[in-house]
């Protein structure tokens, strides 16, 4: 199930996911299929090994040079008890958040309206309403972001 809190969560969510990723990343995060899929799908890059990614733009890069969106997706996957600012993810990350949410409970913090271009269901934690399409999400979230 996808749960979304819109707006400021203070200390309850990690706002700067870039800094958090730099300090908590573990090599084995890049070993699973999901990591390879998002790195290919979002960054158009290829995992060479757990320390090295081949980017078509930047050449050989370490995991800390992945895009902000991929880093946040990896945090959501690998730190399931934490809440992360998913406004560091572009709309091209939305389908991967939904994919994770089909497999496990995912709670994210959004400071903007993310565009989910597919069928989805989400619980808006601000007022405990459930939305199942973009129009409902836009109307439910507009007052918070």
């Amino acid at each position: 199930m996808l749960k979304i809190y819109f707006g400021d969560m203070k200390e309850e969510a990690v706002y700067n996911t870039e800094v958090y990723f730099k300090n908590v990343f573990e090599d084995h995060w890049l070993e699973d299929d999901f990591a390879r899929e998002i790195i290919k799908g979002v960054d158009k890059s290829e995992v060479i090994d757990t320390h090295l990614i081949k980017s078509p733009v930047l050449g050989m890069i370490p995991p800390t040079m992945l895009s902000g969106g991929v880093k946040t997706l990896l945090l959501i996957k690998n730190c399931p008890n934490m809440v992360f600012n998913a406004s560091t993810c572009g709309d091209n990350c939305a389908k991967y958040i939904l994919k994770l949410a089909r497999e496990q409970d995912v709670t994210i913090n959004l400071h903007h309206i993310m565009r989910f271009n597919t069928r989805f269901e989400a619980l808006i934690l601000n007022d405990n309403t459930t939305v199942s399409n973009m129009e409902q999400l836009i109307i439910a979230s507009a007052r918070y972001v």
């Binding site: 700067n16 870039e18 969106g69 572009g90 309206i113 507009a142 972001v145």
Partner: protein, 317 residues
């Protein structure tokens, strides 16, 4: 600071070109379009200069602000272009808005969040787009939002026109819509435009707002337009006063040079947004004339048929 700036930032693998002409620009868009790489190159150049291997071509110095030092540095930086990466929540603070308001700097902020305390333009919300990819990747900034085509047809073909303004602008648009049997209501401020659209979402709606300061409001409305592509549309001229200035109603007093290149004339340390500048300019040009402009109540001269026709031509352009 005044002016329009083309900035080129590159290393041996990637080259960015940004066009900036206002005090506040926002960069957003999909992940992996190069936003963080851009900031990384600028940070390397700021710390190590040419020995970083990064090339920065810019008529003004480019600086990168971080969460740790922004308050300390921002007061000292003058006539520069300041970049701020995603993840810096101080950009939402009132303190930051106060500093930007009277600043001689231009600001480029990477964020998907709506910064309500900053009056940024819809036209200065940018996306980065890869334009060429051979041995080197070329990335360029483009406006994120498209302009509305055929605004006149949208006005006359709507069931309802919603104006951001409740005073002079509303009065003129009311006069135009009445002659086409279209309803027109004021939203009483930009923050109410979205809720007014929601209240009437079953009708064919055109919302009109001042694009020069509507940046923080536009995303949610565009998202709604995606859901109702033929029902909800937005017309975002710079401002109502800009339309009057552009219309030719002022005759020989029309500030042609200013309208051609506003950034050459609008000083960021004096004007928080272009909207305020155009209002002041219109008031100044028309003072002591029959066309004396009052934002609170429209001077009836502007409602004369010949002037309304000129105003419509300005919308049509």
């Amino acid at each position: 600071m005044t002016g329009k700036y083309e900035i080129k930032i590159s290393n041996n693998r990637v080259s960015f070109t940004l066009i900036l002409e206002r005090n506040i620009s926002i960069i957003r868009g999909d992940s992996a379009t190069g936003k963080t790489t851009l900031i990384g190159l600028l940070r390397d150049y700021e710390q190590h200069g040419k020995s970083s291997g990064v090339s920065v071509q810019s008529k003004k110095p480019c600086r990168v602000l971080t969460r740790d030092d922004w308050q300390e540095r921002i007061e000292r930086i003058r006539d520069s272009i300041i970049f701020i990466d995603e993840g810096n929540d101080f950009v939402k603070s009132e303190r930051f808005a106060e500093v930007v308001k009277n600043s001689s700097n231009y600001y480029v902020i990477i964020t998907r969040e709506n910064l309500y305390q900053l009056p940024y333009s819809v036209n200065s919300i940018l996306k980065l787009k890869t334009t060429n990819r051979r041995k080197k990747t070329y990335i360029r900034s483009y406006p994120l939002y498209d302009r509305l085509n055929n605004p006149i047809e949208q006005i006359t073909g709507s069931d309802l026109v919603i104006t951001e303004d409740s005073n002079a602008g509303y009065e003129l648009f009311l006069s135009i819509t009445q002659s086409h049997d279209v309803a027109c209501i004021p939203a009483n401020g930009k923050s109410n435009v979205f809720s007014q659209i929601i209240d009437h979402v079953d009708e064919k709606i055109l919302a009109i707002a001042d694009g020069a300061a509507f940046g923080a409001e536009v995303d949610k409305i565009y998202q709604l337009m995606e859901e109702h592509p033929n029902k909800v549309t937005l017309y975002l001229p710079e401002s109502f006063e800009w339309l009057i200035l552009k219309s030719g109603i002022l005759g020989a007093q029309t500030p042609v040079d200013i309208l051609a290149t506003p950034s050459t004339y609008i000083d960021s340390s004096l004007y928080f947004s272009w909207e305020q500048y155009f209002t002041d300019l219109l008031i100044q040009i028309t003072s002591n004339t029959i066309l004396r402009y009052n934002k609170r109540h429209l001077n009836p001269v502007y409602l004369q048929p010949a002037n309304v026709a000129k105003f419509l031509d300005a919308i049509r352009d």
